[in-house]
Symmetry: C2
């Protein structure tokens, strides 16, 4: 299975190598179906790479108190399946054609298969969660799943308008991204019997880390020097999706006419994107975005500070910096 | 809330009036969201009618042993939410425009909203199930959800071909319809502590009843005297979906050329449907379909016979006949 590994993700993957292999095996077993296309789509997605940060977080957070991962393997697999199901449905909703450098499943198998296989993966995730026989865990992950769907609907109904406020943008990414990061961390602690106050810090650590991840993802879309982001540069711009850089530019009245005319158009081309990037860079908008991400990184660190300073602690601390400063 | 009530469904609705009102209240509470369109779509569907047979089954089956519905209310609501989520995604996949005499949600709000609101309802169903704190129930319903998705994918990949065998057709409807009927019945018994052997009969009763329901649904699509089916007559035919009547006609080599030419066409019109109906009726194909449905009705009765003859028993027995002989 190919994984794009970067330090400190690389170090976490190395540290949790055995457990991550068990997670991969469990995911592949979960994809088993007598209906061939389900396995085809599932394997295409799972083997298509990705950072696998969510299952890593679940495993890492279970390690704070217990070297034996036990049911954390099931939870890590469930978390990744929920994430994968969400990506399948996202790509249908956004009519995306490329993800992580390959065609999206909807492009290969069509929207209908993507919708239904997404439902299947989602159900499989619940089956895995149920096997842990831990109600707190089920509560946390089913709440996260509902929140993700809410965030996706909010994004659909409000993020194609330049009127989108920073507050609504933050609400959207809290739900669509940070909720699963938070739950992935929290359930890692829950499954090894961590006490309530520490669980709270795990949850908040995950939430803040998820916010950093999404904000950085959104501004890398406009970075002239972004590397292999896994998605193409300019995706949001071409889709007409308003994200933090554009919101700040509009709020600061930086070339308002440009943004209004661009987002009023049915189609934006590469030259439009390059102009957008120049405008955002010359007015330090991406710097401002990173400052907002930095405040969440500080939040993540504050909560991490409340957790025991085990070996894994330092990896998670490094992960915060990596998430903030990554170029891809 | 408007419900199309027919005897003995009417009698069950009357008998379980208080509980069904609690189920409706719980469903409406579950639709609450800060994202307006979620509530709009949810209420549109839930208040759009339907027989509500699945939650009725859950409540009825919990009544065998316990007059206090307790958590059965939560389960009945969860079962209806899973069903509603499935309908939302089905209508996207089938590009349906009408259901139960009104525009489908995808026709009103678009495919993207339908996909995402479906995910939300599905998550809400799991939240309700988790509240029952019963692992057997969670296991049963999460298995049913996975099976439904598998059935839908199998239908998508195989039911647009005249090569579809009766066996595959029965596999499809076992998964896409009967699995939720079976689980709806089984969890009703589970939640009141019914013992394992009786649960098995509840499950098999539900499975067989679900098979009857779907087979009858499929042949009513071709019935000249079908009433208000809630879906338009000829839906499957116009969509090019091969169901039992067409499979039997092809198998019996009844006007094979007609079926081959019809299902090779991109579009079928009303006159084609009328010819199809005449062919099926004149060769007693619908009678043969009903005979297959009847064998499942007998299966349902055999399993019902193993259950205690409480007052509700007679209603469920009547429900089998009603399901077999209904005209709409």
């Amino acid at each position: 299975m190919t994984i794009s590994i970067q330090s400190p993700l690389k170090h976490l993957h190395h540290l949790l190598y055995t457990e991550m292999n068990q997670v991969d095996t469990l995911i592949l077993e979960s994809l088993y179906s007598q209906v061939g296309v389900i396995e085809d789509v599932g394997k295409y997605l799972v083997q298509g790479g990705g950072k696998r940060i969510r299952p890593l977080l679940t495993l890492a957070c279970s390690r704070f108190f217990n070297p034996d991962p036990g049911c954390a393997i099931h939870l890590a697999a469930a978390v990744e399946l929920i994430h994968t199901a969400t990506l399948l449905h996202d790509d249908v909703v956004d009519a995306s054609t490329m993800r992580r450098g390959q065609q999206t499943a909807n492009e290969v198998w069509g929207n209908s298969s993507s919708v239904l296989v997404g439902d299947f993966l989602f159900s499989r995730a619940f089956q895995l969660m149920v096997q842990t026989k831990n109600f707190d865990v089920l509560d946390s992950l089913s709440n996260a799943a509902a929140k993700i769907a809410e965030g996706e609907v909010l994004q659909l109904t409000s993020s194609y308008s330049l009127d989108l406020s920073i507050e609504t943008y933050l609400n959207i990414i809290t739900s669509k991204t940070a909720a699963l990061f938070a739950a992935a961390c929290e359930v890692g602690g829950m499954i090894v019997g961590m006490d309530m106050s520490l669980r709270h810090h795990l949850y908040q650590f995950g939430h803040n880390l998820g916010m950093v991840f999404q904000i950085v993802d959104d501004f890398l879309d406009y970075c002239s020097n972004s590397g292999d982001l896994g998605k193409s540069q300019g995706d949001d711009f071409f889709e007409g999706k308003v994200t933090l850089p554009v919101i700040i530019a509009c709020q600061d009245r930086i070339n308002s006419d440009f943004w209004i005319s661009q987002f009023a158009k049915a189609v934006r081309v590469e030259a439009d994107l390059q102009t957008a990037i120049q405008l955002l860079e010359s007015h330090c908008i991406l710097y401002k975005c990173r400052e907002i991400a930095r405040s969440y990184a500080e939040g993540a660190l504050n909560h991490l500070d409340k957790l025991p300073k085990s070996a894994i602690w330092h990896d998670l601390k490094d992960l915060i910096s990596y998430s903030l400063n990554r170029k891809s």
